[in-house]
């Protein structure tokens, strides 16, 4: 990133300390910075923006990998095994996990530490699960910034883990260099994944738990390759590899990481990585604009007062959605 972009915004003493500590690779300032980034307070968001701007020059060197897969695919086990493997090879690893919000009240149970018991004992690992509930503007922007904070703190591999249901994959794919799909060797499952539209965004497919039934797994891998063959590849210079792994038995980890490094090399050479990151920055801007507009709208006092009433009228069929939205948007427009 260009250092000039961030110039001109002075930090408070407190935030300067935060940034200094973070850049020195200290755990607590990094954690505090992520909290600031995730905060729903406007004042915090303003501070966060400055903090992120001032660390930007120190970002961009890590490899960013998104990992997704259905519950039970063995994501946590795999990430733990991969993480320890990477640490043994001198890497520093940050894992950002987006947890679903659990209950109606908005609280959540974040269990990633439990699931990565061995990895979280390592000094070179930083694992941070984030509750996703209730954050206006979406988790995407926040995770993206948290990712930058980790890079600035010296972590050279960033894994972003998602739950593997719904739209979170597309969001995560939009912020990482490479998107990995973890699958189980179940025949027939590949169709479901295609329906979900997740396959199109995968740069690498890993079939986990191949040790349970190797024959089954071989068939599954072949099916996946064929299915992928019919789709447009994510890049003309890249054939999406399908590899078999067994996280539990540490099989295929080197091949997995080898594919990631090969991808990075290829994409760097062709300039596609640089291009991808530029595009991501652009869409990041747009998603922040959208989030900002939404928040602006919601924070409008007249909207806040009128919204419940109009919502009820819409659901009762007393007024059309179009008319209601026009009315609400008018409140915002008429302020200027």
């Amino acid at each position: 990133m260009d250092a000039k972009l961030s110039a001109g915004e002075a930090l408070s003493v407190e935030d300067q300390e935060l940034v200094d500590g973070l850049l020195a690779g200290k755990r607590r300032p990094l954690a505090k910075t992520i909290t600031l980034i995730e905060s729903t307070l406007l004042a915090h968001q303003q501070r966060a923006r400055k903090v992120v701007a001032s660390i930007l020059p120190h970002t961009g060197r890590a490899i960013r990998v998104g990992v997704s897969g259905v519950p039970g695919a063995g994501k946590s086990t795999f990430i733990e095994v991969l993480g320890i493997w990477l640490i043994e090879r001198g890497h520093k690893l940050a894992i950002l996990a987006v947890d679903p919000s659990s209950s109606l009240s908005g609280g959540s149970i974040l269990g990633d530490k439990t699931r990565m018991e061995m990895l979280c004992q390592h000094e070179e690992a930083f694992i941070r699960p984030s509750p996703s509930a209730g954050s206006l503007g979406g988790v995407a922007a926040k995770t993206r910034e948290a990712m930058l904070a980790c890079e600035a703190a010296g972590y050279d591999v960033i894994l972003v883990e998602t739950v593997g249901v719904g739209q979170s994959e597309t969001t995560v794919a939009g912020m990482v260099d490479m998107f990995v799909l973890l699958q189980l060797p179940n025949q027939g499952d590949e169709l479901q994944a295609i329906k979900k539209g997740i396959v199109e965004i995968a740069d690498l497919v890993a079939i986990n738990k191949i040790d349970i039934n190797p024959n089954h797994a071989a068939v599954c891998i072949a099916q996946w390759k064929q299915a992928l063959h019919m789709l447009r590849p994510t890049s003309p210079n890249w054939t999406v590899p399908v590899i078999g792994i067994s996280a539990m038995n540490r099989i295929g980890v080197d091949e997995f990481w080898g594919s990631i490094e090969r991808y990075r090399e290829t994409m760097t050479k062709t300039g596609e990585l640089e291009q991808k990151r530029r595009n991501q920055a652009l869409s990041w801007m747009w998603s922040m604009i959208e989030g900002g507009l939404k928040q602006l709208f919601r924070n409008n006092p007249v909207v806040e007062a009128e919204l419940p009433k109009l919502s009820q009228q819409v659901s009762q069929g007393l007024i059309t959605p179009g008319a209601a939205s026009e009315k609400l948007l008018d409140y915002v427009r008429s302020r200027d």
């Binding site: 607590r28 992520i34 905060s39 729903t40 307070l41 946590s76 209950s103 699931r115 004992q121």
Partner: protein, 732 residues
């Protein structure tokens, strides 16, 4: 008068008319009201106010005899009428010396067997000098590192006469081997060397339930089951009078399961063990007779009796299906212990009464041996006085009440026969569900079984906290002022030092090359089953003075250490209490906090040390999340430094330490120190669990902001935690 036909079960309408007279005036529809007069048990059975002859008319097993299939009425023909159950008090006091003194006292005052509780470090296969167990040595049981400790433990206890029960599952090989070698080396004046064939007793050896509820496992399920199989084979050949397993519902029940769930999961575990025995090449009748069971009896009097009767009925069915020929293979024999969970810290003498009632249900249920809890066990290890009262509870039932004179006195009771059948049917349907999942190992591995239990636990807690389930002295008739009860305190540091010294001595005096060779043989056999039976090889290593930790390590090299995949439930607790005003008030305050801080209050639940009891921490986690906290669940078995680091990484406001095994006085101050060292003393620490009032001051002095003993309503704890967080993190 004599010819007049009195109303009986064919005139139920007459009874209904009479019953309607008791309808409250406010009841709009008395008939409907009467239908509602019933008790729905935790497993969903409906217990009516009246049972008659009609209820049992078509039941299949109501007219059977004790000592005959299907054994509903008991495994022996004469039961207690000739010989009462064995009074077997479970105990372990920090050091081998102290435990030995206790056993000898028990044996001289009416106790009839020895039952050993081990400390957590031993359970998890660590020697006392391992840095991971600093806070755990000598806590919740006796620290055993080697054969020398074992010999002190059984000093002067004639092992050829006294039966020994050992609660050990994780480090089952070195402990069982230690007992065998201690008997082998029994001095002449006590009776001389005891042959393996003469040893009587029980080893718990029930690893499956550890994965589900108690968490004192070492290796993953598959190698753990191999160990179970090797023990079955070895004992079947060499120790015909020794029970090679005690399949335990106790801990499942204590973790929160309903009676039907406890029954079903335990029998389903039993099915797996039988399969394991058969798979290791034995005929089912070679070992099935040495399988024993272990139930909890809680305060639900009728249900517990029904559960124990139904258990024998179902086990007979299961073993018949396995093709067992010998009758002994098909009869379920059991040890029982009164519930520890039902004991309260508040007004603790009430626990004597609870334990008496629970002991009665165990006796009416037909147990073969019984442990009655001491009234102070909700907060600490039993004192001399409390253990005497506990023991006498049984002695009085046996010797004063004449309860023993009649076999299975509840038989023929309309209620009890119906309930026995219903309990059996309910459990059977759960067993079938487990079987369709592929058996208990699968049900445990997937996390399903654990979540069933935890969901029961969360529901129970919510019922207690909302006052729908009464606990006298806790949520009703609470004392304004509690008296303090004298408790026994363990100086854990002193215990550790003496253990470490003894370990050093052993390592210096033994022939370490030979010991290492024996350990290598063990590692080899772990990798290749054809290289030998694991128990056999462990006995050889123990003879050469290999320690518990060394033996566990030798196996771990091949087997690895198991790490649980932990799942959490949500919504169960909140659903029951959410309509309460106080609950809504806390939710509103959490919203307020979020408004001021830009995020919800975030708390990490931490389990420090080797204490794997996670019912409390799981229930608290789910309840607080339902309230609106963000909850991080830390892994089990953390060191204070690790917990501090995770808390900092997640930037939590508070850490909630859950302690059920007395390690808190060492571990909590260490945690606070670790936070300080890492520049994060602003993170507040609260403590909950089995914490005696005597420890509160030390914990506060160490920096804890709040302490929650047994019987705390979670809502009250949440309120206090939120207040402390607000104090520590004022809104700017």
């Amino acid at each position: 008068m004599s010819n007049e036909k009195l109303p009986d079960s064919s005139n139920l309408d007459q009874w209904k008319q009479a019953a309607l007279k008791s309808a409250p005036k406010t009841a709009a529809d008395p008939a409907k009201w009467l239908e509602g007069v019933k008790w729905v048990t935790p497993e969903g059975l409906e217990v009516k106010p009246l049972y008659t002859k009609k209820d049992i008319e078509n039941l299949p097993s109501t007219d059977t005899l004790p000592g005959f299939p299907p054994y509903v009425r008991g495994p022996q023909a004469t039961m207690y009428a000739v010989r009462p159950w064995t009074i077997r008090q479970y105990a372990g006091f920090s050091t081998a010396e102290a435990s030995n003194a206790f056993y000898r006292k028990v044996l001289s005052t009416g106790g009839q067997g020895v039952s050993v509780a081990f400390d957590l470090a031993t359970h998890r296969g660590y020697d006392s000098d391992n840095p991971r167990v600093v806070g755990d040595v000598g806590k919740a049981g006796v620290a055993i590192d080697s054969i020398e400790d074992m010999k002190i433990l059984f000093n002067q206890i004639p092992l050829h006469k006294i039966s020994v029960s050992m609660t050990m599952n994780g480090a089952v090989l070195p402990i069982l081997a230690g007992y065998i070698v201690a008997a082998e080396e029994q001095p002449e004046e006590v009776g001389g060397s005891v042959a393996q064939k003469d040893l009587t007793g029980t080893i718990q050896n029930d690893i499956l339930k550890e994965f589900m509820v108690r968490n004192t496992y070492i290796y993953p399920p598959a190698p753990s089951m191999r160990i179970v199989g090797d023990i079955f084979r070895y004992t079947a050949q060499n120790m015909p009078k020794f029970n090679s397993i005690s399949i335990s519902g106790y801990h499942i029940s204590e973790a929160g399961a309903s009676q039907a769930l406890e029954l079903a999961f335990t029998l389903a575990d039993g099915i797996e063990y039988v399969k394991t025995g058969i798979a290791s090449g034995m005929d089912v009748d070679d070992f099935a007779g040495r399988l024993s069971f272990f139930w909890a009896t809680g305060i639900n009097f009728y249900l517990e009796i029904a559960k124990m009767r139904a258990a024998r009925l179902l086990w007979h069915r299961i073993m018949t299906n396995f093709g067992a020929k010998k009758e002994k293979s098909k009869m379920l024999r059991t040890h029982t212990q009164t519930s520890g969970w039902s004991l309260t810290e508040q007004d603790p003498y009430n626990n004597v009464i609870r334990t008496t009632i629970e002991a009665l249900s165990a006796v009416f249920g037909g147990t073969q041996s019984l442990h009655t809890n001491s009234f102070d066990e909700a907060i600490a290890l039993p004192s001399d006085t409390s253990s005497r009262i506990a023991r006498n509870t049984q002695v009085i039932i046996q010797e004063e009440t004449h309860i023993c004179n009649v076999v299975d006195p509840w038989a023929g009771s309309y209620l009890m026969e119906t309930l026995t059948q219903q309990m059996g049917d309910k459990a059977w349907s759960i067993i079938e569900e487990v079987q369709t999942m592929g058996g208990m190992v699968k049900a445990i591995e997937s996390g399903w079984a654990k979540m069933q239990v935890e969901s029961c636990a969360a529901e129970t807690q919510a019922l207690i906290d909302s006052g729908k389930k009464v606990i006298v002295g806790v949520n009703k008739y609470r004392l304004a002022k509690e008296d303090t009860v004298d408790i026994l305190e363990v100086d854990n540091d002193a215990v550790r030092k003496s253990q470490v010294a003894r370990l050093d001595q052993i390592r210096k005096t033994r022939d370490s090359a030979k010991t290492q060779a024996a350990l290598d043989a063990l590692t080899e056999a772990a990798a290749d089953p054809s290289k030998g039976n694991l128990l056999d090889l462990t006995i050889k290593a123990v003879r050469l003075r290999a320690t518990v930790g060394e033996i566990s390590d030798a196996l771990e090299k091949v087997f690895g250490r198991y790490r649980a995949t932990n799942q959490t439930i949500s919504g169960v607790y909140g659903a029951i209490v959410e309509s309460q005003e106080s609950w809504k008030a806390i939710q509103a305050d959490i919203k307020k906090f979020e408004g001021a801080h830009g995020r919800r209050p975030r708390l990490m639940v931490a389990k420090l040390g080797q204490d794997g009891h996670d019912r409390g921490s799981k229930v608290v986690a789910t309840a607080l999340a339902d309230l609106g906290f963000d909850i991080d669940v830390g892994p089990l078995f953390q060191t204070p430094e690790e917990a501090a680091r995770l808390a900092i990484e997640n930037d939590v406001h508070a850490i909630g330490c859950s302690s059920l095994a007395a390690g808190h006085k060492t571990l909590v101050p260490q945690l606070i120190e670790a936070l300080k060292k890492q520049g994060s003393e602003d993170i507040i620490v609260v403590v909950g669990g089995v914490i005696p009032p005597q420890d509160y001051d030390a914990l506060f002095a160490g920096g804890a902001k709040a302490v929650f003993g047994p019987g705390t309503r979670i809502e009250d704890a949440a309120r206090k935690v939120l207040d402390e967080i607000n104090k520590a993190f004022p809104a700017k």
